[in-house]
Structure formats: structure tokens, C-alpha cells
């Protein structure tokens, strides 16, 4: 059942169009992540759902109700901000109680709700403190607590973890995931960090320049990226792209030429072979983690430029015509710069895109 629906939402600032028509629906209890590079409009989209930005065009529905022009407070949504946005002059208890007080709930209920949230988030010992006496992670927990006491229809998160250090970030990430599971609430989460997107989301909406590039589950986006943008954005280190020329087409088989390929060319089987003709450019996508060093039948034949050991694994940078090709390999291969690097890959891990970057 559709719980949140965006119907061709647009946002213009004067002549500048920031969101160019986003349509999307989420069902109840789903964890949706908006992800994209900075300036792609993901925060603006979230703020429009919250009602903090006016919608220029299109319709917005929450729980079957058109809330496009509804006031923020009447939408029954709560939001966790990047800067936490706690009220500095109120203590932790009052910060969490504020929304309920404004809704004129009875004092006993306010107390019960706040204590419950404090228990879930382990804030009981901090209730009397002012925000300035809290650490970043504690502040973020108070901000989350403030949003859960109101039992909103929709939780919104605007890059909530970007101000935290790496360790705390992964810890809070797990807490948010647990919270989602225990509350069963619908959540929309904005981030530019694809690790957060991959680990938290039921569904990811990849945005670029105000347009949806692809919507799908994390594994769908990883396995079947719709275009080179999504393919490059999801996964770390990012996917290697090789612009090859089609030298022959036969049935479902393609032969692609590029100097970096072992033997100068590569034969692939694809049902989309009929859509290309000899002389076309086809972009070959290879994920660094799928490349294997010293394979029996290598796909790429390159020269090692640089190796970075990460302890358990090693990142290899190989010289190529355009961007360097990156391979991620387990262990510590005995290689030094200048060595020949033969990289193999399983055929099912080869991604093909047409010259415009769309998946073949």
C-alpha cells in the first residue's frame, strides 16, 4: 500500500530549476534513501516532503492525503537535521517533550513518551543536561528521540550522520537500522554516503541534477545499474569504465576492441547485441572487487602504477588510457610498480553500457 507518494514534484528558484519532476512512491514501513552527489536536490526534495520548502509543481501525498500545501506541523512528519537543531536553552527532557507540549498532550503522557524514548536511546542519565553539555553522538540521539516521541507518520533524516566521526557514524547507522526495525515506521533518509545508502535502505532513489536516475533495492542498483552514473556511484571504489569499439557483431556475441584489453579485444555474450552495430562505442564496466589478479584467461593486460595496502586487502592502480583502472584484491600480492598486471573477471560481472551511458 502506498504511504508516501510524490507526483511529478518540481522545484524552481526563479529561473533555476532544482528538482525537475520527481515521481516516486513508498509503502508503509519502508526505509527509503535519497542518495546523490551534492547539489543533486536530495535535501531540497526531503525539505519539500517536510513542508519546509514550497513545492513549485506537482502533488505530494502522505497516508493518502494530499499535503502539497499543508503546513509542516500538520503533516505529522518529524525530521532529524544534520546540525541536530536542538533547542539550546532547553534540557534533553524538554527538547524531546516540546512537540508533545505544543500538541497540548497531558503531562503524564508526555512524561511516559519521553521516558520511553530515552530508554530506547539510552538517554535516561542525560535528561537534565543542556545540549551544549552533550557529545555529538548524544545530541544526535536526542534529535532522534525528539522525533520518535511524537509517533509521526513519517521520519525524515537529512544527512544525520555527516557531523559524526567515522566510528560513531557506523555505530549510529546500526542504531538507526535497529530503530527502523523496532518501530516499523516509514523513513526517508538523505545522504551522499553510498555506504549508508546501501546498508540502511530498503530502496534507494539515486538522484542527479534534480532527476531520478534509478530507483531500486541496494542489490538491484549494484547488480543492474541503469546507467554509468548509478554504476559509478554505487560501489566503492567506483566501477572502472573502458570505452571500447565494437569490431564485430554475431548473434548474441560482441567483439570489443580496446588497447587495455588482453589481446586487444574482448568477446562478450549479451542479449542486447542486436542493438549495437560495428563501429559503435560500448562502455565496459568492471567493478574493482570483481577483478582477479593473475587469472588464467585475463581480460585486461595493464601495467601496475601504484599499490595501496589496506591491510587485509590491496588496491591496485593500473595505468590505462583514460582514468586509471582500479582493482581490489584480497591479501598482499607480490607486485611492484611497472610490473605487468593481468586481470581476469567472471563473464557475468561484465557490465555493458551504450555510448550515452545507458545499460545494454
Amino acid at each position: 500500500m502506498t504511504f508516501l507518494r510524490l507526483d511529478n514534484i518540481k522545484k524552481n528558484y526563479g529561473d533555476a530549476s532544482v528538482i525537475k519532476g520527481v515521481s516516486f512512491a513508498a509503502s508503509k514501513g519502508e526505509f527509503v534513501v535519497f542518495v546523490g552527489p551534492s547539489g543533486c536536490g536530495k535535501s531540497t526534495l526531503l525539505r519539500m516532503i517536510a513542508g519546509l520548502e514550497d513545492v513549485s509543481e506537482g502533488q505530494l501525498y502522505i497516508d493518502g492525503k494530499d499535503v502539497t500545501y499543508e503546513e509542516p506541523a500538520k503533516r505529522e512528519v518529524s525530521m532529524v537535521f544534520q546540525s541536530y537543531a536542538l533547542y539550546p536553552h532547553m534540557n534533553v527532557f524538554e527538547n524531546m517533550a516540546f512537540g508533545l507540549r505544543m500538541a497540548k498532550r497531558p503531562e503524564a503522557e508526555i512524561r511516559a513518551q519521553v521516558m520511553e524514548a530515552a530508554r530506547i536511546l539510552q538517554l535516561e542519565a542525560l535528561l537534565e543536561r543542556k545540549p551544549r553539555a552533550l557529545s555529538g553522538g548524544q545530541r544526535q540521539r536526542v534529535a532522534i528521540g525528539r522525533s520518535i516521541v511524537r509517533h509521526p507518520k513519517l521520519f525524515l533524516f537529512d544527512e544525520p550522520l555527516s557531523n559524526l566521526d567515522a566510528e560513531l557514524r557506523s555505530q549510529m547507522r546500526v542504531e538507526i537500522a535497529k530503530l527502523h526495525r523496532s518501530l516499523g515506521a516509514t523513513m526517508v533518509y538523505v545522504t551522499h554516503d553510498q555506504v549508508e545508502a546501501m546498508t540502511l535502505a530498503d530502496r534507494i532513489v539515486v538522484l542527479r541534477a534534480g532527476l531520478v536516475e534509478q530507483i531500486g533495492s541496494p542489490t538491484e542498483l549494484y547488480d543492474k545499474p541503469a546507467n554509468t552514473f548509478v554504476a559509478g556511484f554505487i560501489g566503492s571504489p567506483k566501477m572502472n569504465f573502458i570505452n571500447a569499439k565494437v569490431s564485430s557483431v554475431s548473434g548474441t556475441g560482441l567483439r570489443l576492441d580496446h588497447p587495455a584489453l588482453a589481446g586487444g579485444s574482448l568477446g562478450v555474450d549479451t542479449p542486447a547485441a542486436a542493438r549495437v552495430k560495428v563501429g559503435d562505442t560500448v562502455i565496459i564496466g568492471l567493478r574493482p572487487e570483481h577483478l582477479t589478479v593473475g587469472a588464467a584467461d585475463p581480460v585486461l593486460s595493464l601495467t601496475l602504477d601504484f599499490a595501496e595496502s589496506l591491510g587485509g586487502s590491496t588496491q591496485l592502480y593500473a595505468r590505462s588510457e583514460g582514468e586509471p583502472v582500479i582493482a581490489l584484491t584480497a591479501g598482499r600480492p607480490e607486485l611492484k610498480p611497472g610490473d605487468a598486471l593481468k586481470l581476469g573477471i567472471a563473464p557475468r560481472h561484465i557490465y555493458l553500457f551504450d555510448a550515452a551511458g545507458l545499460a545494454l
Binding site: 519546509l52 500538520k74 544534520q82 537543531a85 533547542y87 516540546f98 512537540g99 505544543m102
Partner: protein, 304 residues
Amino acid sequence: MSEAMRAAPTKPNRGYGRWTPLWFLAPAVLTLFLIGIYPTIFALVTSFRRYNITRPREGFPFVGFENYVAVLTDSTFWSSLLLTAKFYVTVLPIQVVLGLIVALLLHKPGMGLLKSLARVTLVVPLATTYAVVGLIGRLIFNRDFGVANQFLSFAGFGPVDWLSTPGGAFAAIVIMDVWQWTPFCALIFLAGLSMVPGEIEEAARLETSSKLALLRHVQLPYLLPGLTAVMILRSADVLKLFDMVFVMTRGGPGSATDLISIYIQRVGFRIFDLGTASAQAILLLIITIVISRLYIRLLYREVQ
């Protein structure tokens, strides 16, 4: 290395010596002393003497607290002080409320050009000399050709004799003071409002749709330091308010606008009883300090 060689680089420098900083400080300190500290000390000393310059032959004998006793038992002094307090509690709420309304309007998004124009306009009354405000007031509230009566006639009211009736004169100085100081309140509050972090305001907007609750619970804490500053500055300013009222009404009619500073001026420079006037001035200084400390203690709260 010998002692003599080591001492060589520290030979006297003609451009800079240990007293040089003093010469740089001297003009400012001297000026401060001449126009601030010396008169205050003079007033303090004079307040303990009989010091009537129309009777120099009696000399200026030291009389202890006689002047203070005279002032504290002088009913005119108390009624002037009471009138000043009445003036203060009349103008301040009006200025704070109007200033807050102006600040909230200017804080709303949109209409950038008009708002910056309005902000510049706000400085005009502040930059106007009190005496000039008084002169403008005399023109506005003139019985026969003032704009105040012109506006009243549009509304169908007959001419009011502003400056020669007790109520009218008091109202006139209140209006001029509000005109001059509302912009100050507005600017201070506007600064306070812009201190509220945008995300905190937005967080509150998600929790309540009431503008009043937003003002009371989220914006007010950021306005309190400014409000304290306004109250301190205004109370000090009202206690010494002289030029505007003097130009407009000279304290009259009767004693309708006889604020404390006008009364002290009359005692000092009409009756030439400088001893008594000094005692009054010193008492005024003490009152100002006490009031300021009270405000700071009771109202001033840092937000973060």
C-alpha cells in the same frame, strides 16, 4: 663573549623607550579624564558643599550630607523622578512591542530590496540629534499648523492643544521618544532574530504551526540579551533625557513634562544651587547603576 659585547645591541633607541606607550595612551586618557572623570569627581565633591554661585560671598563650605537630606526630602525631586519613571514605563513597552513587530516583519523572507531600504531608514531617527527631534516635535504638535492636528482633522477631530495642556504635552514627548527609539529596538531585535539558527527554527516549525509558540519558545531566548541591552540603555537614556523635552516643552506646562534631568538643570542653572544639583545628579547615577545591575541579574541569559 664578553659582557660588553652582549650588552651592545641594547643601546638606547631614541624612537622608543619605556614611556612611549604612555604617550600613545595619554590623549585618550586625558580626554576621558577631562570630560568624564573630572566632572564626576567635581560633582561628587560639590554635592557635599553649599555651592550657590549667586552667593559667592558665603563661600563654598563643606556641609556633609545636608544637600542629600535636602534632596531626599524635596517633594519636587520625588515627583520629577516619579514622572520620569512614568515616562519610562509608558515609552518602553510601546517601543519594545512596535520594535518587535518591525523586526519580525523585516525577518520574514522575501522583498529583499524593500527590506534593506527599510533597514537603512531605521537608522535615520537614531542619527537625529535630540534637540532636532524636539524641534521636529514642536512643528508636528503645533496647534495651528502642525501635522498632528491636520491628521486629527482628517479623522474628524477638532484641533488639540498639544503642547499647552499637561496631558497633550506628555503625550507629545512620548510620541517623539517612541519615534526616535522604536527603530533602535527593531534593529536590536532583528539582530537577535537572525541569531536563531535556521534549522532550529525549522525543527520548531515541524512541531508547531503557532507563530506565537515559535516566538515564545524558540526566538525569545535569543532576544533576551538584546531586550536587556534595550532596557539598560533606555533607562539610562530616559534618566538623562533632556534636550528633546527641553526644546519641546521646557518641562511645562506646569510640571507636566518636568523630567528629572530638566529639574536638575533648573536647580543647577536657574537657581544656581550647584551643591543640591550635584547631589541630585549623584543620586541619579546611583539609581542608574542599581537599575542596570538588577536588569542584568534578573533578565540576562546567554543562550549558548
